[in-house]
């Protein structure tokens, strides 16, 4: 009984159906254990967490410099910026906007630096539903390759104050 004390030697290996199930469950656990490292080396989507310490002001300065030198247009007052293929791109998440709008090329690889000067934010790219966490003081670098074209929305999915729901941004892929 689960509510009474077992006495004497009760230590023994499982038998029968119980043994079978423990074996099956263990096998499944081992399959799952192998899948993650396998995907890390062979898969195309990984969250390696590449990141560096950064001062908010330094990041903002660099992002603004990036916007000035690569600006190709404007939408509703938000600059549209086209980084050079294979190069670095900067995205700022702050209360309550993602800026600039990035214009990327399909099949090209970019090093996308994302950080925040104020609170924690959640980078969420729609409609694909790709999500990464953004922390102030951390330069989070995503080595990203768009594989589809069109306009993509960025929303914030970490609570960042009362205007959280207004925090949006955009990536255009050609």
């Amino acid at each position: 009984m689960s509510i009474f004390s077992p006495v004497g030697n009760w230590f023994k290996a499982p038998t029968g159906t119980e043994r079978l199930w423990v074996g099956l469950a263990l096998t499944w656990c081992l399959i799952m254990s192998v899948t993650m490292p396998y995907w890390h080396f062979k898969g195309k989507q990984n969250s390696t967490g590449e990141s560096y310490k950064v001062e908010a002001s330094a990041f903002l300065d660099r992002a603004n410099q990036f916007i000035e030198s690569n600006k190709v247009g404007e939408e509703k007052g938000v600059p549209i910026v086209e980084p050079s293929p294979g190069g670095d791109a900067y995205l700022v998440g702050e209360m309550w906007r993602w800026y600039p709008i990035l214009k990327l090329k399909k099949g090209q690889t970019y090093r996308l630096h994302i950080s925040s000067p104020d609170l924690q934010h959640g980078f969420s790219l729609l409609p694909m539903n790709m999500n990464f966490h953004i922390l102030p003081g951390y330069d989070h670098v995503l080595t990203i390759t768009p594989t589809s074209t069109g306009d993509f929305e960025i929303i914030c999915n970490e609570f960042c104050g009362i205007g959280h729901h207004m925090m949006t941004g955009k990536i255009i892929v050609e």
Partner: protein, 575 residues
């Protein structure tokens, strides 16, 4: 000799024959009552949230939405559940070990700290000075009283854990029981070990944050805060898992006379929890900067999924023990004859059975899948996450605790329920509502709908964004499921509060059984026999029904798991 000493230190339970120690009984009662009080606060906040996320209703304004979200998270995930667990610890270390409580004084101190802490935090949230949600991620800042309240509560709970371990120690020293401690107490001990670690992490995260909010020290690093806070936030869910599994075993015995098939396997599974389940705190940091892939993959796998193995073992041994008990009673027809003859009208049983099914099939499968390092990219901070944990913590733990209450109230409070017909349907109403709500959240989340978000139409934003109409239908399900679950929850609170304060006393006689005379007699016979035959196992009795169910479970798990890998493979490339 004064009057208090003259009063007997324990009473003998007329239903189970176990000794109930007066001082521990008092703390079990007070903790359970406080748990239900905070459950009510959390429930009132919950209905506001469900009706706001239902986009067609969108009940609350943004300020109140986030305030109620903070209130809901803190009361449900911290106060309701930990008060209840402290009540379980007091019970498991005294009555089941036939021992007195180590220290009544410590009991009082911890109760005062926990009570004051819970009141402080609730007050400051309602006063509108702590709209930071449960996680209070720095540099988002709340009034210092918010952190202080949780710190006091955590310290109080740590003292209960100390009292628990000290009681285990004196029980063994004084040889109040023979052999090993009962399985339910062993599971409670696993919960207490995890609680110590969780509360220590909570202190490490919140004490510096409290000092920062007072202006005594500089800013707290947000990455470090997340690492330590999730040591509290996720580990406290593992306290729930251990406490819930203990309740499964306890209620299995109480409602059907079931006995663990093999003590080694059950305890070994708890050992795997003790060693490895807490690594899963990493699930929250899988798409974070700062921590690398090695740390992420190893910790998110709970050390090669050994803690998942533990849950899969419990998910077999509990139903298998029920099947064996039923077959010993003569319900041997076919593979599932025993299943249909289970006491489905006993709310103590039905709540626990629903808890096992919801926790396993919905909470467990989604949790392991979403907690896979790479798959987390398509799940982090979406509604898939609350969809998962409402199936584990609410459909699993809270529902199991409700089932426990249907026996706790008659046995410990010694009061009989009124309106038993309503009590019999309550677990189905609540469980059903949670299933609908959790499915709605999970499907909406798979479209990318964020959690913790007031307006998924993004009104007022410069660059527009929005979701597929199907996602809005799913959010409607969240609202509808939420309403059903809310009604089930009110029913539970109403019935238990009315019974505890105004119920018919059953002092001096056994509790009235929830089951008919025949099944009560068969169950009692098994419990008596189990007592005599302790040490023997029943593995020779085949469990084809349970095996069929767990194989179906494994296939469901594999399909869901690989379907998510497929969805991930369609995304942009990212490293």
């Amino acid at each position: 000799m004064n009057a208090t000493q003259a009063i007997a230190k324990f009473r003998t339970c007329k239903t189970t024959g176990l000794r109930v120690f007066r001082n521990a009984e008092f703390f079990t009662k007070v903790n359970a009552v406080l748990a239900v009080v905070f459950l009510l606060v959390g429930a009132i906040a919950a209905i506001g949230l469900a009706l706001t996320r239902w986009t067609a209703v969108h009940l609350l304004g943004s300020v109140y939405y986030y305030r109620m979200l903070t209130l809901h998270g803190v009361n449900m995930l911290v106060f309701w559940i930990i008060f209840m667990e402290m009540g379980i610890l007091y019970f498991a270390c005294t009555t089941l070990l036939n021992s007195r409580l180590f220290s009544k004084m410590l009991g009082w101190i911890s109760l005062a700290l926990m009570g004051i802490g819970a009141l402080m935090t609730n007050y400051i949230i309602l006063a509108g000075q702590a709209d930071v949600l449960l996680t209070s991620y720095v540099p988002l800042k709340a009034h210092p009283m918010f952190y202080l309240g949780i710190i006091l509560f955590a310290v109080g709970a740590l003292i209960v854990c100390f009292n628990f371990f000290a009681t285990l120690y004196i029980a063994k020293r004084d040889e109040t029981y023979e052999g090993s401690m009962p399985l339910v107490t062993f599971g409670a001990m696993a919960a207490a070990i995890i609680a110590v670690l969780a509360l220590a992490h909570g202190a490490a995260a919140l004490i510096p944050t409290f000092m920062w909010s007072m202006g005594w020290i500089g800013p707290v690093d947000p990455g470090l805060y997340r690492l330590l806070w999730w040591g509290l936030g996720h580990m406290s869910q593992q306290i729930n898992v251990c406490a819930m599994v203990s309740v499964w075993y306890f209620m299995g015995t109480m409602t059907t006379g079931a006995k663990p098939l093999n003590e080694t396997v059950c305890r070994g599974a708890f050992l795997l929890y003790i060693l490895f389940i807490n690594l899963a705190s990493a699930h929250h940091l899988l798409v974070d900067p700062g921590v690398g892939p090695g740390w992420k993959i190893w910790n998110t796998s709970y050390a090669m999924y050994l803690a998942v193995l533990a849950s899969m073992i419990h998910g077999y041994t509990v139903p298998a023990s029920l099947e064996v008990a039923q077959r010993r009673k003569g319900f041997t027809k076919g593979i599932f004859g025993w299943f249909s003859k289970l006491p489905w009208k006993d709310p103590g049983f039905s709540a626990v059975m629903l808890s096992i099914i919801i926790f396993g099939f919905m909470g467990g499968i989604t949790g392991v899948t979403l907690g896979t390092e790479q798959i987390n990219i398509i799940a982090h901070n979406t509604l898939r996450i609350p969809g998962h944990f409402h199936a584990t913590v609410v459909g699993g733990t809270s529902l199991a605790f409700m089932g426990l209450a249907y026996y706790l109230v008659p046995l410990i409070f010694q009061k009989e329920f009124y309106l038993k017909g309503l009590a019999r349907i309550q677990p189905y109403v609540f469980g059903g509502g949670i299933v609908v709500m959790s499915l709605g959240m999970s499907f909406a989340g798979s479209y990318g709908v964020p959690r913790r978000h007031w307006d998924v139409d993004f009104s007022g934003s410069i660059l527009s964004a929005g979701f597929d109409p199907i996602a809005h239908v799913m959010l409607g399900l969240v609202g509808i499921g939420g309403i059903i679950a809310f009604l089930g929850l009110l029913l539970f609170i109403g019935l238990t509060v009315a019974t505890v304060f105004f119920g018919r006393s059953n002092e001096g006689r056994p509790m009235e059984s929830w089951q008919d005379e025949h099944s009560t007699r068969m169950k009692d016979e098994l419990i008596e026999k189990g007592y005599e035959e302790e040490g023997k196992d029943y593995e020779h009795i085949k469990t084809p029904g349970t095996l069929t169910v767990v194989i179906i479970f494994l296939l469901t798990f594999a399909v869901y798991y690989f379907a998510n890998w497929k969805a991930l493979a369609d995304l942009w490339f990212v490293r």
